[in-house]
């Protein structure tokens, strides 16, 4: 077998691949949200990591204050944080229409610092544990590794949400509006589509995706005010590799980069933290618009 030739036990190889797939699931959902937002708002949403963190904190808050468990949080937390996103878009981002992209970057980056700073002040920088739902405790022995049910669920839920978003974009009328609005929002509005409303909803949806990832992460990583800022840098690299604003690019690249990271952990563990940035550099040299991006 190939793994024997390389002197690597298959348990290690498949184990890391699977762990990579789980990380990739988070990359995919987060970069997908960024792609949705970038498409319509032309803004690189630097507060995405903070909003992901808010999703996890909303999950905590729901159980502490309302006794609402994981499954309820999976629906409610994205709705709550998405609603906050809508407020952010209406009150702040909308004012940046027509000005240089840099202002959107600065605003969302500043917002991330404010949100994360506030939460560090309130909760400290250490993690708060959140128990996985009872229905998903335990796991299965796959022969090459023990797979906790919860991790399998994370991959499944992420893939389902990504596919649903892709179908929404590619197969529905609202998806046609979103694609057209990405290309030429003014003309779309002149046709009678309420583009400002569409833009608000797109931002809300992108933010809700971030919060959804935050709920999924809560039982895995512990809930911590800086959980987003650690992750988001890698996610931006994923977005650059996939191509800014490409829906399918975000999904495929997210999953693939997670697995490449996992593979690197097997063959050259020291490089696993940098491999995605290396891929990003190579992609930027060969295809500056990204693997799935359209060269303008």
């Amino acid at each position: 077998m190939l793994t024997d030739l390389l002197g690597i036990p298959p348990q290690v190889l498949f184990g890391q691949l699977l762990l990579g797939l789980i990380n990739g699931a988070f990359y995919a959902v987060l970069s997908l949200g960024l792609a949705v937002i970038f498409g319509l708002l032309n803004i690189v949403n630097f507060s995405h990591g903070a909003l992901y963190m808010l999703g996890a904190f909303a999950t905590l808050a729901l159980v502490q204050f309302f006794g609402i468990g994981y499954w309820g949080a999976l629906v409610l937390a994205p709705l709550m944080v998405g609603a906050l996103g809508i407020v952010i878009e209406r009150l702040l981002l909308r004012r940046l229409v027509g000005v240089d992209h840099l202002y959107g970057l600065l605003l969302t980056f500043g917002l991330a610092l404010v949100i994360e700073g506030t939460f560090v002040k309130l909760f400290g920088a250490s993690g708060i544990p959140y128990a996985a739902p009872a229905a998903l405790s335990g796991g299965v022995n796959l022969g090459f590794m023990f797979l906790p049910w919860y991790r399998a669920w994370v991959v499944l839920a992420s893939v389902v949400v990504c596919l649903a978003t892709w179908l929404l974009f590619e197969r529905t009328k609202i998806g046609a509006y979103l694609r057209a609005g990405t290309e030429n929002p003014k003309l779309l509005q002149a046709f009678g589509v309420n583009v400002p409303m569409l833009t608000t909803l797109a931002y809300g949806y992108g933010v809700a995706l971030a919060a959804f990832a935050g709920v999924l992460a809560a039982p895995i990583t512990q809930v911590n005010p800086l959980m987003g800022s650690n992750l988001i840098i890698v996610v931006f690299a994923v977005v650059v590799i996939g191509g800014m604003g490409s829906i399918i690019g975000a999904i495929v690249t997210g999953l693939a980069m997670g697995m490449i990271e996992g593979l690197t952990k097997v063959f050259w563990p020291e490089a696993s933290a940098t491999v995605i940035f290396l891929v990003m550099a190579i992609v930027l040299i060969l295809r500056p618009a990204g693997l799935f991006g359209k060269t303008a």
């Binding site: 046609a176 030429n184 002149a190």
Partner: protein, 250 residues
């Protein structure tokens, strides 16, 4: 069929007795610092086909863009079917029954031909059905699954026309629809415009191709430097030839 006869007989002569679909008064428009329209006045009545003629930069495209609300800063008055829209958002103006076909055609690359066709929301009852449109433009039916921008220039123009006819809009603002197209396609578009007139559409046509526009139009508005410098009825074409020579010859 009576609509055809009526339009034909009336020409532009009795427009004042008919319903005003579009009334523009003292319209000024600005692109940033530059002042593009300097007080446009024009009225278009129901069922009329008028042209905006003039050289590049005379303000014809800007006039259309101002009507649909795509110019950031505009002052004066634009009444669409009796509703003031000078401060109205574009998507609301469209729902008064205005269909806009931009100069660059605006076919969406990320949408298929059929998705492009179905994209603009219905703004009024009485739009053409998809079957009627595929009948009118058979090429589009054949290529309905293609990516919108893979169509030839002529096909893209037909798609840009077809998609606003589906919506029920009955005021059509058409910008340079014959530009760069083969004569056989221009003939097809002539046929289409005659058919649209017969159905009672109100059409504002921005055109360079005078030979295409002259036999179709009830009136011509000649523009220069952001103003309307002359209005010429179809029956005055020969008598006022010197105006065309002055403002249109390159």
């Amino acid at each position: 069929m009576s609509a055809i006869i009526e339009n034909h007989e009336l020409g532009g002569q009795h427009v004042s007795e008919r319903i005003e679909e579009l009334r523009i008064q003292d319209l000024h428009a600005f692109y940033g610092e530059s002042h593009a329209l300097h007080g446009i006045d024009l009225t278009v009545c129901q069922g009329e086909l008028v042209t905006l003629l003039g050289r590049n930069g005379a303000g014809r495209t800007t006039t259309l863009r101002a009507i649909v609300g795509l110019i950031g800063r505009r002052t004066g008055s634009i009444m669409v079917k009796g509703t003031e829209v000078i401060n109205t958002a574009p998507h609301i103006i469209a729902h008064l029954g205005v269909g806009y076909c931009p100069e660059e055609r605006g076919i969406f690359a990320s949408l298929s031909v059929e998705e492009n066709l179905m994209l603009p929301p219905r703004v009024a009852a009485g739009g053409m059905s998809v079957e009627e449109l595929y009948d009118m433009f058979p090429n589009l039916a054949e290529r309905r699954r293609s990516q919108g921008t893979r169509l030839s220039g002529g096909e893209q123009q037909m798609l840009a026309m077809a998609r606003i006819l589906r919506t029920g809009a009955n005021i059509l603002l058409l910008d340079e629809i014959t530009e760069g197209l083969a004569p056989v396609i221009v003939d097809k578009l002539t046929e289409v415009l005659i058919a649209l007139k017969a159905r009672g559409y109100t059409v504002v046509l921005v055109e360079q191709n005078f030979r295409f526009a002259a036999p179709l139009a009830d009136r011509h508005f000649v523009m220069d430097h952001g103003k309307i410098v002359a209005t010429i009825r179809q029956d005055e074409l020969a008598a006022k030839q010197h105006i065309f020579d002055k403002y249109l010859s390159v």
